[in-house]
Symmetry: C2
Subunit: 434 residues, 2 copies
Amino acid sequence: MEITPRILKGFRDFLPPAEIRRKELVRILEDSFRSFGFVPIDTPLLEYAEVLLGKGGGETDKQVYRFNDHGGRDVALRFDLTVPFARYMAMHRNELNLPFKRFHINKVFRGENTQRGRYREFTQCDFDIVGTDSVSADLEIVLMITSAFAALQIPGVTVHISHRGIFNRFLQAHQVQDQSVEILRTVDKLRKVGEEETLQTLQTLTSPEIAGKTLAFIGASGSFQEILTTLESLAGGPCPESQTLREIGTALETLVTPGTVILDPSITRGLDYYTGVVFETFLKGAEGIGSVCSGGRYDDLVSLYSKEAMPGVGASIGLDRLLAGLEELGQLPGTTAAADVLITMQDAALTAHYHELGQRLRARGIRCEVYPEAQKLGRQFAFAERKEIPLALVCGLREHQDGTVNLRILETRENHQDLTEEQALEIIHGLLPR
Amino acid sequence: MEITPRILKGFRDFLPPAEIRRKELVRILEDSFRSFGFVPIDTPLLEYAEVLLGKGGGETDKQVYRFNDHGGRDVALRFDLTVPFARYMAMHRNELNLPFKRFHINKVFRGENTQRGRYREFTQCDFDIVGTDSVSADLEIVLMITSAFAALQIPGVTVHISHRGIFNRFLQAHQVQDQSVEILRTVDKLRKVGEEETLQTLQTLTSPEIAGKTLAFIGASGSFQEILTTLESLAGGPCPESQTLREIGTALETLVTPGTVILDPSITRGLDYYTGVVFETFLKGAEGIGSVCSGGRYDDLVSLYSKEAMPGVGASIGLDRLLAGLEELGQLPGTTAAADVLITMQDAALTAHYHELGQRLRARGIRCEVYPEAQKLGRQFAFAERKEIPLALVCGLREHQDGTVNLRILETRENHQDLTEEQALEIIHGLLPR
């Protein structure tokens, strides 16, 4: 009896073109992180539920894949890369050198609603600097974001930055700090629900006057330094937090292309977790998909597991969302060709010859596939075209005896006949993009 | 209340040096597969239990992480990459171009005994050619194995190859084909239990005469072609299966270094799954850890899900076992340095300058880390040494005003003073291995 082949809702198979692109994107990101001295780590997909959920509660719990294993242990699949990182730092802090910079790109699981392009298995890409509260680390995370997107060759990326502390001072100056959590959440939704609804909610939470001032605060405009001055005056004057932003803003003037990093006080990040700078990142033309890289500074990563505090700053790229955005913009990097050259098979008796030819081409940096059966050439050419392989080599008994090959450019159907292998290599190298 | 940070038995955290090596190894393998036209795929970690276990039964079932999800679905974590590949091919055969060559490197889960270096979460690396039963595909998998290990620059790798079909003919010739499963399993354990115990078990299963002949069969020695002739005579003469081996052996004479691929009739692979060529791969000097890459030809990948048969040939590298073997041999590839250069911080007022310097070095291909706090230089040098960073740049207020930097080679404690940035770059490029 046959079983119907199917996969779970919210989970995905990746066909080769999609997986080639994902891997290419991940490699570029990894190289970019490594160029800054961030190093990779990995943690188990499955952990003790207590370790992952101790802090959690609320919404996250219901979304977690949790069960009892063979030994009766209460276990769960990780739902993000932050909690495992906290557990990791608490366990391994003495084996690592602080300040510690790591990246982690891997899958996480959430059994949430699968509407609106959300998946139950998706890839996160986190990078953090922990064990320091220096402005240099805040600056470096911003630089890391802009450099990573530059490496991906995505034009029109803007990083929106703000500071939780200044907003808190503003709330204190107007004596609404007790509503801070609700106000933060309301402001965080501004982009989604619009100004009018935000104003109404803020009026309900505070007063018409403070609601108006809050909108003035989060809507401040001008250059980085102009906005900063507005914020300072609304928040009761300069403060250490505004000084941090000023230093970052000044340093960025020489470090990034103007307009790449924007001071945007409407960025607050809904989570209580953040205590300092916060940022979100948008793709020009695909702002609708939301932030593709978000993060901020936090006071203590390991509070759940240890008394010894560990401050840090970090950000996370949602790889699936980023890919969706790039696809929308037609800016997916790289090629999805299965190989550079198809070595066609004209005669099975020449099998060893085709594979020798393949090995010689590979030694010269050419990706090549040997067709495994002696079928009609037209069928083999069509096979190459469907796999986006741009070139085909043809060699029958006569060519083998003469020591020659024929090269076909599939797109133009142009044929180069009776080439020596060196001549063929020269033409191939001239035609390939890299 | 604090939670004790801990991980599940059989699961592992990877510290940066280990993860750097794993990623390096995976990249080399990926590049090697891509050079042959194998393309990557990915499948969900979690699947319907029925889809994964339909065929299984027996031992595997007990080892599978299986539970009911929020929607009451009976789900399981994948325990290998073969069953998901079969399901994938049954679902997507019309979207793919046959013959299809894929690789898949990812984690699998088995709740088995954790003794003897076995893990409950480990990485497999599978590669297969499906949709063809040609000898060319069999040959290519062998070539792929030797090329992948060559790319890893591991000396002394031998691929042991045999053919199930010839062994079956031998069993038929002696009318013991009904004991074939038991005999195959017995022979498969030869390496573990030794010749004497194997002979005893075979005598119990068959007769003293046939047991002796079986040992003669699996112990045949000489060159590839000599062994093949012995096997043919013991199995009742030449047959299509021995012809396949002969073609492969002849082709390999020009394709691989002599001695790299050995005809070894003691290789049978215990699994019923295989029907043609079978292979195992051993590291010279670390044979004790067993085969690091095994596989073979099968008649039908998708029989569980579809009536339309799909033959194929493939192999799997056990990444954890391979790494263990390489570590044992002291042959782990690559370096585990966190960066090439540490840009030390002498004065926090120069933070932007240090990051600018960092960006210029990165643009020239140098991995560099900026130390985020203005601490004592000795402490920053020690930090670099612990992270295997070989070089440090030092720049204080005076050097900044003069437009110079100092370069320190950490291993020798040699200092190059008052260099221009170009001079420093030249020295750095000269010192780095790549």
